[in-house]
Every structure is written in C-alpha cells, then in structure tokens.
C-alpha cells in the first residue's frame, strides 16, 4: 500500500490540537513542557471549553505558555499564579481557570500562594511541572531537587545537611503531598509524560481536573507532572526520560493521591 493511500484526512488518528497556536515551542528538544501543553490543549478542545477558559502562566520556562495556547491568558509574577487564578475565578466564577507552574514557581517563591489557594478550596485546575531544577535561569537548585543531584548552585550535589549536622540545602519538598492534606483540595494526582502510556494517563488526569472544575463550585484540582530537564540535567532527552524513571519516580511516585476530597489509602 502506498503511503499516499494512508495519509488521507479520513485516516487521521492523531495530530496536535487545534487549540495550540502555530508558534513553535521554544522549549529544548525533548522537554516535557511541550507534551504537557499538548495534552492540556487536547483536553480543552475535547471538553469544548476554549471560549471560557483563562490560563495563567508562571515565571520560568513556561512563562510564554500564552503564546502557544489559543485561549485567553494572563502572565503572573513569579510564584503568584495561584493568586492570579483566584482573582480571575472569584470575579468570573463561570470561567474555567487554570494555572501552569514549575517547581521553583509553585514550590519555592510561590509556596504561600500555593498553600493558601489550595486551603481556600478555590475552584481551579492547577498544573505543576516538577523537573527538580530551575530551567529558565540555567539549572539552579529547585525545592524538589533530589538529594545528591548536581545543579548550578549545588555543584557537588544537593546536601541537606553538612557532616556535622549543620543545615545546608534542605530536603526535596513534597509539596504535592503537603497540599493533599489540606481540606480545600478535591483531586490531587502525580503523573509523568515520558512514555506513551504515561501521557495517556496524564491526559486522563488533566481531563478529570478540568471536568471537576466544570462540575463543582469549589475544590482545587491539582495535577503534578514529574518531568525532565535534559538540558540542565546535562543528558540527552532519551537518557533524561530514563533517568527520570530511575531517580525521580522513587522520590515522587506516580498515581492519585487524593480523590473527591478523600486521601487515597495505599
């Protein structure tokens, strides 16, 4: 069979969402941000909510997420995306509002906004991309950097304490587990996008996080995506995806943590 007999509109089984603009992603080759953008756009398209969706982009690599999604967008100050989303949702309760943040944004400079937005039970969808490092600023330590992991500011590896017990870089922050204990979070899950099966699961989780917002008046729907940063991890994209499996997932295991306001017993 000739390829031209297969490549016909009626045989199309997959293409990128129409809710992504024509602008090429500025992300490094193999970066998970692109995959997460893609599946968010697919979900918004499938749910048909693009005319009432307002996104909030962070400071960090995804600062220009607004260039890629064909929906209204506000760009927030570093860490303040949850406050911005709260502001929008409170004055436009019928809109669908989501935040998109990295680990430095959500779990370091914006920890206060993250926790209080979750604790108020704002009716929002929060997407948290955790790659354990600061990407945009050039690979410095993130709150979620693994113990022993080398970054520009932990060049000898993250060391929580010195040998004599004196505090040093501290420990990887389990922000998703922390917010899962708050009464305001409805749905909390941790996913990844480094294999096709995981992308499918992550998309299902994101879809649920938006459907919950559409069907309810309160409760944060929080999706962490454990992702890669091959440029700052200093390895190829393929190796980074493997490294993620071997190093990130033991510390940040995948799966639902909370559903319908109930912590999931393991």
């Amino acid at each position: 069979m000739n390829i031209n007999d297969i490549v016909k509109p009626e045989n199309l089984v997959y293409q990128k969402s129409k809710l992504l603009t024509s602008k090429p992603f500025h992300y490094c080759p193999g970066c998970g941000h692109g995959t997460v953008h893609r599946i968010i756009a697919e979900v918004l398209e499938e749910l048909g909510i693009d005319e009432r969706t307002i996104g909030v982009s962070p400071v960090g690599c995804a600062v220009m997420a607004y260039d890629y999604f064909d929906v209204d967008f506000a760009e927030a100050a570093h860490g303040r995306a949850p406050a911005c989303a709260t502001g929008i949702k409170r004055v436009w309760p019928d809109k669908i509002v989501f935040t998109y943040q990295g680990d430095g944004d959500l779990a370091a400079i914006g920890t206060c906004e993250t926790i209080h937005t979750c604790n108020r039970g704002e009716n929002l969808t929060m997407i948290f991309v955790n790659n354990g490092i600061y990407g945009m600023t050039g690979g410095q330590m993130a709150p979620t950097t693994l113990i022993g992991m080398k970054t520009a500011t932990t060049p000898y590896g993250r060391k929580p304490q010195w040998e004599d017990g004196t505090p040093n870089n501290g420990f990887p922050l389990q922000i998703t587990n922390i917010i899962s204990t708050l009464p305001g979070t409805r749905y909390v899950t941790r996913q990844a996008v480094n294999t096709p099966a995981r992308v499918r699961n992550a998309k299902k989780a994101i879809k649920k996080a938006f459907e919950n917002q559409m069907n309810n008046k309160n409760g944060v729907n929080f999706v962490e995506i454990v992702s890669n940063c091959n440029s700052n991890w200093k390895m190829s994209a393929v190796d980074a995806n493997k490294w993620l499996d071997e190093n990130m997932l033991p510390v940040y295991p995948l799966g639902d943590i909370k559903d319908n306001f109930e912590l999931i017993k393991k």
Binding site: I54, A74, A76, A83, T86, G87, I88, V91, W92
Partner: protein, 361 residues
C-alpha cells in the same frame, strides 16, 4: 441625591467602592487601614451587589489577585498601609507593564521599615516616583477629607479604565481614621459580562472562536518591541499629564508666599493661611490633588503672578519639596517644613516656618 453620613475615612472609601459597583476587593489587614476590609466584611457586599471581598494570605497575594482580576476587565481594588504597599510594588510593576486598570489606597504610616502606626506622608516618593521596577507612573490622588476618600474611588476607577493604569489614593493615618460627614453617592450597578466584553475588548473573558486570543503580560523579550512598549507607556503618561492634573488654591489671588501641601498637611496649612492673613501676611495655599501628574503648571502660574516663595509642608523629611523645586526651576524660593515619626505639625509652627524659612524676619 446622595446620602449624608458620619464616617471614618477608611469606611467612606469602602462604602464608596460598594456603591461604585466595584467587583472585588482583595486585601490584607494592616494598621491604620484595617477598617477598610473590616467594614467591607461587615457590610457583606457579596449579598448587596455581588462584590467579592477576600482577605488574602499576604499583600503579595492580594495585589496579584487585583492584577489578574483587573486584567479580566473587572473593577477591583485593594488597600494597605506603607509596609504593605512595599510588598505590593511587585504586582504594581506588573500592573503598570501589562496596563491593568485598578485602584489601590495607601493609608500612609511612618517608616522606614515597620516605623510607626501614626500618620505620615513619607511615602510620596514610593507612590509618585516608582516603587516597583521599570519606567512607569501610577496616577496618585491625595484626599484631604473623608469626602474625598469617598469621591476618589469613582474618580480613580474612571481614570484607571480610561487609561488602563493603576490609580493610587494616597491617604494617611489621619484622613483614614478621622470621622467627618460625607455625602455618599447612589448605588451603581456592577457591569454585566456583555458590557465588559463590549467596552473592554482587551479584557480576559474567554476568547471567541476565530478571534485572536488575548494575553495580559508585561514580558517581551524582543528589545525593539519592548522599547516601543515603553514609548507607548510614556505617550500615555504624557496624555495623562496633559488632561488630568488637579489642584486647589486658597487665598492665592494676591499671595506673595504660598504653602504647598496635600492631604492632612493641607488642612493644617489652610489654618496657617488664616493665622497668617490675620497678621496681615499675604500667604496662600496650593493643594495638589494629583501628586502624579504633579501640578507643576500651577506653581509656574503663581510665580508668573508674583509669588516669591513656597513652603512645602509635609509629614516627611522632605519629599514633595523636590517637585516644588523642579517646578520653581530657580525662579522662586522653595523650602521644606515637616514633622515626622507620627507627630503632626500645628498651624502655628507651620506659619512660623513660613516666616523663618521663606519670608525672613
């Protein structure tokens, strides 16, 4: 017509916000302006008009709620006092860059740092000369009465949406805390979704399929575009300077010496004018109502009419005096007098300062 009431300045501000049809107030308690959020919470405007009142987790969160809710075309405001306004400078710089309309009140207390909870006017620089990063201005209105605390809410929102800019109501602990009679405006309706979409096409409200999606951001990595954006902001500031300068003059017709004072200092200086006139001194008062843009042209005109000297009376170590001197441009004498640390000057010491520093005895 409006309703006559006896109220604190802070309460008048809050009530005026409800009556203007304000959509949301995001705040954080700090003395001496906590009455604003307390009054709003007590009045329960969510039931009166649907207005949202939210006590945020910090001033940072509050101003960023204002930023994004304002970016979506709603009339939103916040208030704080000096150290809290410091924290809000982050959001105010984004608001300036992204051209988001909003109103914020600063009920100024003494500084630096935690300073004192007593009245002060030491945040003139912060309000008028930046505060946040970048080349920007906010419109700054200086109320001198409880009535103006109420009136400037409507004026502030009108200007904020006309120019897509933040408007600061620069009050102080005295104006915020004192009680006076105030005529409150009639209740206005909040804008509907259709009205907002028709009137503010830039506002984030969900883009229609087939139309360009909207983005509210202060970022552009393209230097040429960022330069043009800055030029655009400066043209806007020029336009505001052309159209919006406001001031009041008292006894300046034949004045040779003029007090320049705003807010609570203006009320004290007004009494000093009376005392001076009773002594036969040709003194008057210029009260700037907009501190940015500054009434430079009013000072210029007074010099043309023969004023020989100006005394800038401020509850600070001398901040507005810089703008008075710039306006004088060497054509008239300009000096500063002020008490600080929460001490409020008396009319007698203000008049004495005029005699000593400007008139000369």
């Amino acid at each position: 017509m409006g309703e006559l009431k006896l109220m604190k300045g802070n309460e008048a501000l809050a009530e005026a916000a409800i009556r203007y049809g304000c959509d949301a107030y995001f705040g954080y308690p700090i003395t001496p302006q906590s009455e604003v959020i307390e009054y709003l919470s007590e009045q329960n405007p969510y039931e009166r008009t649907g207005m949202v009142v939210l006590q945020a987790e910090s001033e940072l969160a509050a101003i960023n709620m204002v930023y994004a809710a304002g970016a979506s075309g709603k009339r939103v405001m916040t208030s704080s006092s000096s150290p809290g306004i410091c924290l809000k400078q982050e959001g105010l710089a984004y608001i300036a860059g992204a051209e988001v309309p909003c109103v914020y009140a600063d009920v100024v207390r003494g500084g630096p740092g935690l300073g004192t909870i007593q009245p002060s006017q030491a945040d003139y620089f912060q309000a008028c000369k930046g505060g946040g990063n970048g080349d920007y201005h906010n419109i700054v209105l200086a109320p001198a009465s409880v009535q103006e605390m109420a009136d400037f809410v409507a004026l502030g929102f009108d200007m904020a949406f006309k120019y897509r800019i933040a408007v600061c109501i620069l009050s102080d602990g005295a104006i915020g805390q004192m009680m006076e009679k105030v005529v409150l405006p009639e209740q206005k309706a909040r804008m509907t979704e259709e009205e907002i979409k028709a009137k503010y096409p830039w506002a984030l409200s969900g883009r229609k399929r087939g139309t360009q999606h909207r983005v509210i951001t202060s970022l552009d990595l393209d230097s040429a575009k960022m330069e043009e954006h800055n030029r655009h902001l400066q043209r806007k500031y020029d336009e505001i300077t052309k159209n919006e300068i406001r001031w009041e003059e008292i006894e300046t017709k034949d004045a040779e010496y003029v007090f320049v004072a705003y807010g609570s200092s203006a009320r004290i200086a007004q009494k000093a004018v009376q005392l001076g006139r009773a002594e036969g001194l040709k003194v008057g008062l210029l009260r700037p109502i907009t501190l940015w843009p500054y009434p430079t042209k009013a000072i210029d005109a007074l010099i043309d009419k023969g004023v020989k000297g100006f005394l800038s009376v401020e509850l600070s170590c001398g901040q507005m005096i810089e703008d008075v001197r710039l306006a004088c441009n060497g054509r008239a004498k300009a000096e500063h007098f002020g008490r600080v640390g929460g001490i409020i000057h008396t009319p007698e010491e203000v008049l004495a300062a005029m005699k000593k520093q400007i008139i000369g005895e």
